[in-house]
């Protein structure tokens, strides 16, 4: 039962990544693209944790934590760059 639910969740998040990619390509404003990239990072965190459940190891939490931190910093840096024209003033 868990295997079937895992397959369903993998399919959902894979499809979600495709939607995000469409918004990155299509997105009329830069705010849309930043938002889609941030959503992509969050979906990748979910995929990493699902893969950790599939493999039955706790190694992937560290990877998920690192991806979460790098994703947050990069989103803030991108927004700062658009807002102020510079990242560190």
């Amino acid at each position: 039962m868990i295997a079937a639910a895992l397959t369903f969740a993998f399919a959902c998040y894979g499809l979600a990544l495709l939607f995000n990619l469409w918004r990155i390509i299509q997105g009329p404003t830069s705010a849309d693209r930043i938002l889609a990239l941030d959503t992509m990072v969050i979906n990748i965190i979910a995929l990493l944790i699902l893969y950790g459940i599939l493999q039955g190891t706790a190694v992937y939490y560290e990877a998920a934590m690192l991806v979460a931190m790098v994703g947050f910093v990069s989103t803030v840096a991108y927004s700062r760059f658009v807002l102020r024209g510079d990242i560190i003033e």
Binding site: A4, Y13, L17, L35, I42, G52, M65
Partner: protein, 130 residues
Amino acid sequence: MDMTFLAEALIALFLVISGIFGLVGSFGLVKLRETMQRLHAPTKATTLGVGGVLIASMLYFLLVKGSLSFHELLITLFLFLTAPIIAGFIGKTYMLRHITRDDLPASGREYGWALYDAAPGEAPEDTDKA
């Protein structure tokens, strides 16, 4: 035997619910019309979806593997803390390019809007030069 079935059903339920939430969040990103509307879908639904995945992972390692882990709570806390900050930054990014000062009402305070006016400590002439 019955308890194992119950635990597996609970984990599978959380996995399915979180998958649907994640899909709805990203589908909203595609479907909604305005940028400010699009801001709502990923910041709420996708964050909830990841929270569901993390709860399922915690339950799986607790009930099936028999070991309690708190890493997931750390990731959940981090995501729930950063989601509103990111939403605020992206909203300001959109406002700077697409909403002018005249579209907004007066702030009703001594100081104006943070995005368009100088910070309270600074003199307006300094910020104009910089």
